[in-house]
């Protein structure tokens, strides 16, 4: 995988994206946190697809890019611009968490624009009896138990261990501040921005993946998405929480390849 950039909307945005692999185009839309390197599930998907993993506008080198995106609809249309700019013909779209909400909105607004949809623990619906926890009040230590199944895993420990040097700590803090500030535009104060009004418009084959231990996006929402997206398939992934793509990359990649390959 290598990092490339593409200019969108007459240069308003310079979008950075990881890309690699061979095969049908697959776009991966990351969640609220700062993307750290290449997601292990996405790395496996590059064996069967040409993968595009953009960094959301505002999460990257130019935080002010998010100022041009006011709401989830703007965000969905931004990614349609991205598909057009790269000449992607009906890509498979895989979205995780906030990226899942985004992928669902793209599909609802323009099902003909994509060929298949994969939603991995998406947010975007709300039940008063199963509130999504307020991630914005949490630091890494509070977040870890609700997003990791195995707190002893190297990845979980890395999230909970502060970096060594003050400079690295400051950089991590600023990175979190930047990504959470941008996420707030789509999730604050309640992560329901109207998808329920549009979800019936999703007319592409859809796979929904969910970690069985997910405490950030409670598993009741798996059946909510499943029942509202016509013809969708739901697969629960054991021994995984919200970070299912990092915790069970083998199972996730297999499910996606079987579905879309």
């Amino acid at each position: 995988m290598e990092m490339q950039t593409v200019s969108l909307r007459d240069g308003i945005f310079t979008t950075a994206y990881q890309t690699g692999g061979r095969g049908k185009p697959l776009v991966f839309l990351h969640g609220a946190g700062m993307p750290a390197g290449v997601n292990p599930t996405v790395a496996r998907l590059a064996e069967r697809f040409t993968v595009y993993a953009p960094i959301h506008p505002g999460w990257g080198e130019t935080p002010e890019d998010i100022d041009h995106i006011d709401d989830i609809i703007d965000f969905a249309l931004y990614y349609q611009d991205f598909f057009d700019a790269l000449g992607l013909e009906q890509p498979i779209v895989v979205g995780h968490s906030l990226g899942g909400m985004l992928a669902a909105e793209i599909a609802a607004l323009c099902s003909p624009c994509i060929s298949k949809l994969v939603l991995v623990a998406p947010v975007g619906l709300w039940r008063d009896d199963a509130p999504i926890p307020d991630i914005f009040t949490m630091g890494p230590a509070e977040l870890a138990p609700i997003v990791w199944h195995d707190l002893e895993s190297p990845a979980a420990k890395a999230m909970m261990t502060p970096p060594e040097t003050p400079e690295a700590q400051a950089a991590a803090m600023l990175g979190r501040a930047q990504s959470m500030a941008a996420s707030g535009k789509f999730l604050w104060p309640i992560p329901d921005k109207g998808l329920k009004k549009r979800i019936h418009r999703i007319k592409v084959p859809t796979l929904i993946l969910w970690g069985e231990s997910d405490k950030l996006a409670p598993t009741v929402y798996a059946s909510e998405f499943n029942s509202r997206i016509p013809g969708s398939r739901l697969e629960m992934i054991p021994n995984a929480s919200h970070m299912v793509l990092v915790e069970q990359p083998g199972a996730c990649a297999k499910a996606i390849i079987d579905f879309a390959g």
Partner: protein, 409 residues
């Protein structure tokens, strides 16, 4: 030199174990801790105390806006200011202020403040804080990263509503109005003086300097830390070619005057400790939403007033630490006068807000503290900055209307 008497209106009946039994005084303190009968008692005490300050000759009396908390019972400062228009005579009504991004539409602020200005005979100071993260993001659901943009648009609409004589349309990002035509309009021209209470962000400094508004640093970390911020402010003023007139700078200082330093501790320590231990006990998760402060301000290293880091800095501080650390200026009238002269001159402030009712302080002590400050401290300091002209406090109507006797038969 101007002295303004601030009331925060705290709920002073929280249980002793409040800060260990509950995680936050703000946003989600249990509602059962508020007794509305006590509320009836408290609001009347507080208003009496503010009226007392007017009678003692303070230049202004101040109220502010905060939501869902036991730190201050004023979600609507305009209601308090309205209650004050009738029995006060000379003090400016310093509404410090309306968190304008929370008013929908913002013309509501323009209208209510126009009413207050007319009702009071032109005594209103219009304060426009951005508002704390607790208030704006957690209580009122405003997205943190767009709060300042929303605030800026609200400000522009309010100023235009006050100053544009003809009906106008406003096609904003956050507010759309087809016919804006304010009735009533403020007495003061072009509009009441605008003061901006800030917690120390670079953006606020630059904007208040450019707009020639008063920048008020309202802090609970005392004047020693306050000086760091005000030094930064004045450096920024100089760098941007602003006016060095101290009357466009304000600062809040907790003050405790008694017969002696020892007596001040006997009188006030318990209540000051209540303030720091309970009134500022804000859960870290609510203190500073991501996006509330810009990356630029984060890099400049300004922390929020409340939350874990701020609390850690003040944790376990008792009276002696709070006095030695400059959090509270306390002592005999002479001692307080000397320290306040240092604060005023060191920070270059021409608008000093004093907090004489602190935490659980009951009415009799509030009157003692206020009276001693007004009669034995303030007169010695009034002459500071006499070489500068104050252009930022109200010039009220000379023959303003007063309440008339209404004896019904």
């Amino acid at each position: 030199m101007n002295f303004h008497w601030f009331h925060l209106m705290p709920y002073r009946f929280l249980p002793d174990d409040f800060s260990t039994a509950y995680h936050s005084v703000w946003v989600d303190p249990p509602s059962h801790l508020y007794d509305p009968a006590k509320g009836n008692q408290l609001y009347n005490e507080f208003l009496d105390e503010l009226e007392f300050a007017d009678q003692l000759g303070f230049d202004g009396i101040c109220c502010n806006e905060h939501h869902q908390n036991a730190y201050g019972l004023m979600p609507s400062p305009n209601l308090i200011a309205a209650a004050l228009t009738r029995r006060t005579k000379n003090a400016a009504l310093v509404v410090l202020g309306n968190s304008i991004a929370l008013y929908n539409p913002p013309v509501r602020v323009a209208e209510e403040m126009a009413m207050l200005d007319c009702m009071s005979g032109g005594r209103l100071v219009a304060g426009f804080p951005v508002g704390t993260s607790m208030d704006t993001n957690y209580c009122y659901g405003m997205t943190p990263s767009t709060l300042r943009e929303r605030y800026n648009e609200a400000h522009d609409l309010i100023i235009k509503a006050w100053t544009e004589p003809d009906v106008f349309s406003f096609n904003g990002k956050y507010t759309q109005l087809r016919y804006v035509n304010l009735w009533p309009r403020p007495l003061q021209k072009p509009h009441p003086p605008v003061w901006i209470p800030g917690g120390g962000s670079v953006e606020t400094w630059e904007w208040t300097t450019a707009m020639e508004y008063v920048y008020c640093y309202l802090s609970y970390s005392g004047w020693i830390r306050g000086k760091q911020v005000m030094d930064g402010y004045w450096r920024n003023v100089e760098q941007t070619g602003g006016d060095d007139n101290p009357y466009h700078a304000g600062f809040l200082q907790l003050v405790c005057v008694s017969e002696s330093a020892e007596q001040a501790e006997k009188d006030y320590a318990e209540h000051v400790e209540y303030f720091y231990d309970k009134c500022l006990h804000v859960w870290q998760g609510f203190a500073d939403a991501p996006g509330y402060r810009t990356i630029r301000t984060l890099k400049a290293g300004f922390g929020p007033q409340v939350g874990q880091t701020a609390t850690q800095a003040r944790k376990g501080l008792k009276w002696k630490d709070l006095v030695d650390g400059g959090f509270v200026v306390a002592g005999s009238p002479q001692e307080v006068t000397d320290k306040m002269a240092n604060v005023i001159e060191g920070l270059r402030v021409g608008q000093l807000m004093v907090l004489c009712q602190i935490g659980s302080m009951p009415p009799e002590l509030v009157r003692k503290n206020t009276q001693m400050f007004a009669t034995e401290v303030m007169p010695h300091l009034k002459g500071i900055w006499s070489q500068y002209e104050d252009k930022w406090t109200p010039k009220p109507l000379a023959n303003r209307a007063e309440p008339q006797p209404v004896g019904a038969k």
